[in-house]
C-alpha cells in the first residue's frame, strides 16, 4: 500500500469529531450457509416504502411462536439495510431488511422485497401508444410499485 509521510496527512475531521474513537472492527462470525434454528416472524404493522423510510431505520416484527424464553409475539427488530425508491418508466422500489435482533440476540437472514415491476407492460404500451398521436409518451411518468410487507406474510430468520 502507498503511504504518505505523516506530515502530509489530511485528517477526516468530520469522522474524528463525530465518531467514537474507540470503535473497532468486529471479526465476522464464520457461519455455515443455511444453518441455525429457524424462527418465524411477521411484521407488526403493514409496511410500505410510500412512507419514505431510510437506510438505518428500524422496523418492528414479532415472533410467531415461542422461542427459548421469548413467548410468541415478542418484538424482533429489523433494520433497513438498503432502500431504493420507485421511479418513472414503471421501475419498482426495492428494499432489504436485515440485522434482526431479539432482545440482545442477533438473528441471521434478510428480507428482500420489490414493488410491482410495471415496465414490463409499460414499455410495449408506450411504444404502441406513440403511434396514436404520441399518446404513449404520457405513460412514461407512471412509477413502479412501492415495496410492501404485509402482516399476514411470515418470514424466516435464523438463530445461530
Amino acid at each position: 500500500m502507498l503511504m504518505l509521510p505523516s506530515y502530509a496527512i489530511i485528517e477526516d475531521d468530520f469522522v474524528n469529531a463525530t465518531l467514537d474513537k474507540n470503535l473497532k472492527i468486529k471479526k465476522q462470525k464464520e457461519t455455515t450457509p443455511n444453518s441455525g434454528i429457524p424462527i418465524q416472524i411477521r411484521i407488526k404493522e403493514d409496511f410500505t416504502t410510500k412512507s419514505k423510510p431510510e437506510e438505518g431505520d428500524f422496523i418492528e416484527f414479532e415472533t410467531v411462536e415461542d422461542f427459548k424464553s421469548f413467548s410468541a409475539g415478542t418484538t424482533v427488530k429489523g433494520r433497513i439495510e438498503f432502500i431504493s425508491m420507485n421511479c418513472i418508466w414503471g421501475v419498482p422500489a426495492d428494499i432489504v431488511i436485515g440485522n434482526f435482533q431479539i432482545g440482545n440476540i442477533a438473528l441471521y437472514g434478510e428480507i428482500h422485497k420489490g414493488g410491482a415491476n410495471r415496465i414490463i407492460w409499460l414499455r410495449p404500451a408506450t411504444i404502441v401508444g406513440t403511434f396514436f398521436f404520441g399518446a404513449g409518451l404520457a405513460l412514461i411518468p407512471i412509477r413502479g410499485g412501492h415495496a410492501k410487507i404485509k402482516t399476514d406474510k411470515i418470514y424466516t430468520v435464523y438463530y445461530r
Partner: protein, 234 residues
Amino acid sequence: MMKRLLAVVFVLGMMLAYPLSSSASDVLLISTSEQKKVQNHISTVGFKILNANELPNRTVFIYDSSKTINAYSAFFGRNIVLYRGMYIMLDDEDMLAAVLCHEISHSMDSYEGPFRGTFGFLNYTYAPKKYEYKADKRAVDFMVKAGYHPVAAIVMMNKVMGQNRYDWNSSHPLTSRRMMSVYEYIYKKYPEYLVDNKYKTNIYYQNFLLTSKENRAKFQKKIEKNSRGNVDYL
C-alpha cells in the same frame, strides 16, 4: 494456378474469420500459468464473497486478458467478467473484492422478477443509476460480511474511475457522487471502518478526502440537522 487461388481464398477467409486488428491491439499476451494464477485469485475471492453472504443464486467469475479497465456482469449468462486492465489497477484483495461485490449485486438482481428475471434488463436500461447506487451499497454489505474493508471501495473508485462533467446523459452517476454514497453508507452502517481505517494514509483515499471536502461538508450538515432525504452531491 488453381492451388494458388485456393490458398488466397483460404487466407482471406481466415482473415475475415479472425480479424487481426482487434486481437492484436486489445489482448495482452500473458502466459497460461499467469492467466491461471489470476483466474484462481478472482474465482477464490468471488466465491468466498458468495458463500460468506449466503447468496442464494449462482454466478461465476471470468478473467479476460484485455486491456480494458472495466468489469461487468452479464445479464443473460450470469457470469462476471473482470479485465486485466482493471486487475492491474487493484493494489490489494479488498480492492478486488470491491469490484467483484459490485458486480455480484448486479448478478443477483438479474434473478429478480417474473420469468426468472428475464425482463430485469429493462429496469437496468431505463433506471440504470438506481441500480448502480444499489450495487455500490450492497457491495459494502457483501464486503463486510466476507471480511473485507469496505473503504477499499472508495479507494478503488478514486484510483480507477474518471470524473464526467455531467451524469444526466450517462448510465452511471458521477464518480464523486458514487464515492459519497458509499462513504455515507459506511458512516451510517459501519462507522467502525472509518475509525479503524487502514486506508487513512493511502494516497488515493487521501485524494478522496482532499477532493470531497465540499461534499462531506454537505453530509455533515445533514447529520447535524438530523435531516432526511438525499443530499445533492457535486
